[in-house]
């Protein structure tokens, strides 16, 4: 270890860091700086300082527990070196056996959400009902109101669990849509080439 853990200290930031650490141990979902500030009854700036201190302490390779910024908040996870042992003890049911169809549906909801099942079907060209139901059951997407224009169809969005499972700090961490190979021009050219070959 680079330096010893200073678990007992009279330094006020250290004391706050211990409180933040305790809150993160108790929580089963990522906590935002605001959540931590309310619970610790302290101001956000000092919480951020405490989080920086804890990030250093709980970095990958320094401890069996790693503090990470994920799904819009901060959370502890197991270190990667302990992954094998964790895998013997725990399953990862949320992401086990996610089909290609489920991945495409997740991608559509992540980029275009909140969106309805007909929206998903329009892009994939196949009904999305059972895939959407499966993703809701896994907790990766959730209902997000109804679409007044589409006869009140239920709209879906991705959940914080989705961001956590995929290790995303937020949806902004997804690749930009423009960077994904849309190649609309190439497709259009190919369509036109096919159309020209067709006898009139």
């Amino acid at each position: 270890m680079d330096r010893p853990l200073r678990l007992i200290s009279a330094n006020p930031v250290d004391r706050l860091a211990r409180v933040v650490e305790a809150l993160l141990v108790v929580a089963s979902q990522p906590l935002s700086v605001e959540d931590l500030a309310v619970a610790a009854n302290d101001d956000a700036e000092r919480i951020e300082t405490a989080l920086r201190l804890l990030s250093e302490r709980y970095g990958e390779g320094r401890s069996g527990i790693v503090l990470e910024q994920v799904a819009g908040g901060w959370a502890f996870r197991a270190s990667r070196e302990a992954a094998e042992a964790c895998a013997r003890l725990f399953e990862r049911p949320v992401e086990r056996g996610l089909s290609g169809a489920a991945m495409e549906t997740l991608a559509i909801v992540a980029y275009f959400g909140p969106c309805t099942r007909p929206d998903i079907a329009r892009i994939r060209g196949i009904a999305a009902d059972s895939v959407v139901a499966g993703l809701v059951e896994r907790g990766l997407i959730a209902e997000a109101g109804r679409d007044a224009e589409a006869a009140g169809a239920i709209r879906y969005r991705t959940t914080p669990l989705f961001e956590r499972v995929f290790g995303l700090e937020s949806l902004a961490a997804l690749p930009r849509l423009d960077d994904l190979g849309g190649e609309a021009d190439v497709i259009r050219e190919r369509l036109e080439a096919v159309a020209e070959k067709r006898p009139a």
Binding site: Q29, A107, A121
Partner: protein
């Protein structure tokens, strides 16, 4: 190679192509759930296994798959098919290209997510319902008890009692119709009930009906009706004049 015997193993269906077509035509299988691209892939890999091009089979397969695709497209986008058919060919090609590009993007996004998931397979974290205590609501500013008292006093006053007078049903006396019908019977021996009550309110017609039954009970009239809902014909009997004046006290009351 017989196209109809092509064995398929899809998410929504497993069995020969022929059975799939039958189920789709009988509407026992939702075509929207069937991935047609998978069928094409199955056919292509079968062709590849055989190592020679079977033009007959290809032709038959193309026709069947084209029909399936059309059915599926119509099923998936019943309204859009109409919208798209109104587009000029260039516009339709543009729209198709846009959709294909969208789908291509989402396929790449899905591939990115799969890769990401693979890379994150060593992440273990605590999962479970959030045990977070509800956030403390912001307290109201100090309030004046007098204002609360005034508000409660407003609520505590007894509301004015409501009059239900307008809701009572007013029935005319049955005797009024007994007399009326007897007067008619004095002029002619028979009349149609419907024509006599024409223009009367629902309640008046009901009382008139009671009067008619009363006359029938007293033997002053006999009633005829050809069938259900046919006009009711009232015929005076000889006793009609003798019974005049009886039952004039009969008054219907509201239930």
């Amino acid at each position: 190679m017989i196209v109809r015997e092509l064995e398929l193993d899809l998410d929504a269906f497993e069995g020969p192509f022929d059975l799939l077509l039958t189920l789709v035509l009988r509407e026992e299988l939702e075509l929207a759930e069937v991935d047609v691209a998978e069928i094409v892939l199955a056919f292509c890999s079968r062709l590849e296994e055989r190592g020679r091009l079977d033009l007959d089979a290809c032709g038959e397969f193309l026709v069947l798959v084209a029909a399936l695709l059309e059915l599926k497209a119509r099923g998936l986008f019943p309204e859009e098919a109409l919208e798209l058919s109104e587009l000029e060919p260039e516009e339709a090609a543009e729209e198709l290209a846009r959709r294909l590009a969208d789908y291509r993007r989402m396929k790449e996004a899905a591939a990115w997510l799969s890769e990401r998931l693979e890379g994150e397979s060593e992440r273990f974290f605590r999962l479970g319902p959030a045990p977070l205590a509800p956030r403390v609501e912001r307290q109201l500013a100090a309030q004046d008890p007098e204002r609360l008292g005034a508000a409660l006093r407003l609520l505590a006053t007894e509301p004015p009692s409501l009059s239900l007078g307008h809701m009572a049903l007013r029935f005319p006396p049955v005797s009024q119709f007994l007399e009326r019908f007897r007067a008619v019977l004095r002029r002619r021996r028979r009349f149609d009930f419907e024509s006599e009550v024409e223009g009367l309110s629902r309640v008046e017609a009901a009382v008139a009906f009671l009067a008619m039954l009363e006359l029938r009970k007293a033997g002053e009239v006999s009633l005829e009706q050809a069938s259900s809902f046919a006009p009711i014909r009232v015929l005076g009997t000889r006793a009609s004049t003798a019974k005049e004046g009886v039952d004039s006290q009969w008054i219907a009351r509201s239930a």
